[in-house]
């Protein structure tokens, strides 16, 4: 078996920005002294005149991006999720969301897979914050192929978009040749109607692995990849709930306010279904190697499979 290719979605972000930059002169990139980490440095190398470092001042960066968009540019403003969505939340809400401006927020280092930096940098609240802003599109791609497609789709979408990328290199499972991305559309990855596993970001590959393990035991799990956390693909989720009867959500985010709650709210109103949310259980992360942390916090294929077995008992 050949080695599975692994790429961090922040790398994908940097590459996709360069591709967009080649095609569109209105693409500009702002960063807050983290270009090397967010990978906007890739864009800076290709288009130095279109990359604006704002220094360690995320609030100003977000609002300045809003101003640039009113001049007809399409700014991608980048920082770690903690600072782009967290520190600058109110700038995103009032200076981008409220006036419906065409700004894209490229937030890297989402979730606990930031690893060794610890809880101060492990943002598990960004979905909750960004989902709460009217009109904000929230994307969390699951691998390199989807991440690059999502960046391009964000450019073509008129209005604010929040994109969450990860620090950790993760398996690439989508086939670039056949993959089609559309904002607001979920993706069914496996057939099955014993249980539905709805995942986002790096948890999608874990869900696939869990489904494989369950398959060996005769359990057919339907894995659904939800890159667009908002607006949610209600159709694919309701169909899965109706046909599977049991639902698990998986996300590298607090169980409060993220994908799990979005799915729970939908199902509670339209098709009450037994469900479990896998995510960070209302606690802070801590330092450690990313894969060890993910395992420790239950964000693993093993835990997903265990929860599924428990629900099917």
């Amino acid at each position: 078996m050949s080695e599975i290719k692994k790429v961090a979605t922040r790398e994908s972000y940097g590459k996709a920005l360069v591709e967009l930059g080649k095609e569109h002169e209105d693409v500009v990139v702002l960063d807050a002294d983290l270009a090397a980490a967010t990978k906007t440095s890739t864009f800076r190398k290709a288009f130095p005149e279109r990359h604006f470092d704002c220094g360690i001042a995320e609030c100003n960066m977000i609002a300045a991006a809003a101003g640039m968009s009113t001049m007809g540019l399409v700014p991608f403003a980048s920082s770690f999720a903690m600072f782009a969505a967290g520190r600058a939340f109110e700038q995103v809400r009032n200076s981008i969301g409220y006036p419906q401006l065409n700004v894209k927020i490229g937030a890297t280092h989402g979730g606990i897979s930031v690893g060794e930096d610890g809880a101060s940098h492990q943002c598990c609240e960004d979905f909750a914050l960004m989902r709460s802003i009217p009109g904000m599109v929230v994307l969390c791609p699951s691998d390199d192929v989807e991440a690059r497609a999502a960046v391009k789709a964000a450019y073509y979408h008129q209005g604010p978009v929040y994109l969450r990328f990860g620090r950790l290199a993760i398996p690439v499972f989508h086939d670039e040749e056949t993959f089609k991305f559309e904002i607001g559309k979920g993706e069914q990855l496996t057939e099955g109607s014993d249980i539905a596993i709805i995942a986002t970001g790096l948890m999608v590959d874990e869900a696939r692995k869990a489904a494989e393990a369950l398959k060996a035991e005769g359990i057919a799990a339907r894995v659904i990849n939800i890159c667009t956390i908002k607006p949610l693909d209600e159709e694919i989720i309701l169909k899965a709930a109706k046909e599977c009867g049991k639902v698990i959500t998986c996300e590298e985010h607090s169980i409060i306010g993220g994908l799990g709650e979005a799915v729970a709210a939908l199902l509670a109103e339209k098709h009450p279904t037994i469900m479990r949310r896998i995510g960070v259980n209302d606690e802070f992360g801590h330092s450690g190697p990313a894969w060890d942390l993910l395992k420790q916090f239950g964000l693993s294929a093993e835990n997903i499979a265990n929860v599924a077995r428990e629900m099917l008992k």
């Binding site: 704002c54 001049m71 700038q91 419906q100």
Partner: protein, 283 residues
Amino acid sequence: MTNQEKKALAVMACKVRMGVIESTHGAKAGHPGGSLSAADMFTYLYNKEMRIDPANPKAEGRDRFVLSKGHTAPGLYSTLANRGFFPVEDLPTLRHIDSYLQGHPNMVTVPGVDMSTGSLGQGVSVAAGMAKAAKFQQRDVNVYTLLGDGEIAEGEVWEAFLFAAHYKLDNFCAIIDLNGLQIDGRTCDVMNTAPVSDKMAAFGFNVIEIDGHSFDDMEAAFAAFKACEGKPTAILMKTTKGKGVSYMTNSVDWHGKAPNDAEYEVAMGELRAQLAELEAANE
């Protein structure tokens, strides 16, 4: 500037003040104090300084204005209405349910408003972003923003000032209304921001101090702004909060309170008298 032009501006500024009273009275809420302190500056910007066209409020090459101290929307709205962006008769619908005149500036609903503001400290960053974009696009666009002296306690303001100086945004003009008062009292007591001039100079700005009720001072200041290359300009204007209405003058109580019917009559009476005097002098 001829005496005739100056008098026309004074007449317009008086009408802008009347619109502030009309709108806040109609709203039974709003911020007259800081709207009145900046009324002369609003008037000068929209009737003399900025390249704008009320018939084409979204014209690409226009100069931009961002009201960073967004709570003084009554002043901006009245200026825009009197300049022909929308009917003056609509001003009393300020803050009414379903009115396009939202409590704080809304670029989506109000013709002539270049940015939605209200949360202090953000407008100045947006304006700096506009100025940087204009530079990048090599467009001849000047960006003006008006801040309050209480507002500059917001840390983001200084982030924006760093940005403007770092990128040598000489098309960026930050006007700071030094009326000395904010909601909780005198600015020097609430959170002293003085000396603003030294701070702005240290941040790399071309600093100009003026009387915020003198059109001559404004003319000279904006000429100096446009002559300055390689650095942003800060115009620090000393003003009187509530200017134009006797009982609002220098009164912290009138920061965010609307005149009742009796107070409205007094204010309008005073402003009508001022207008009559100005118009008589015009002849």
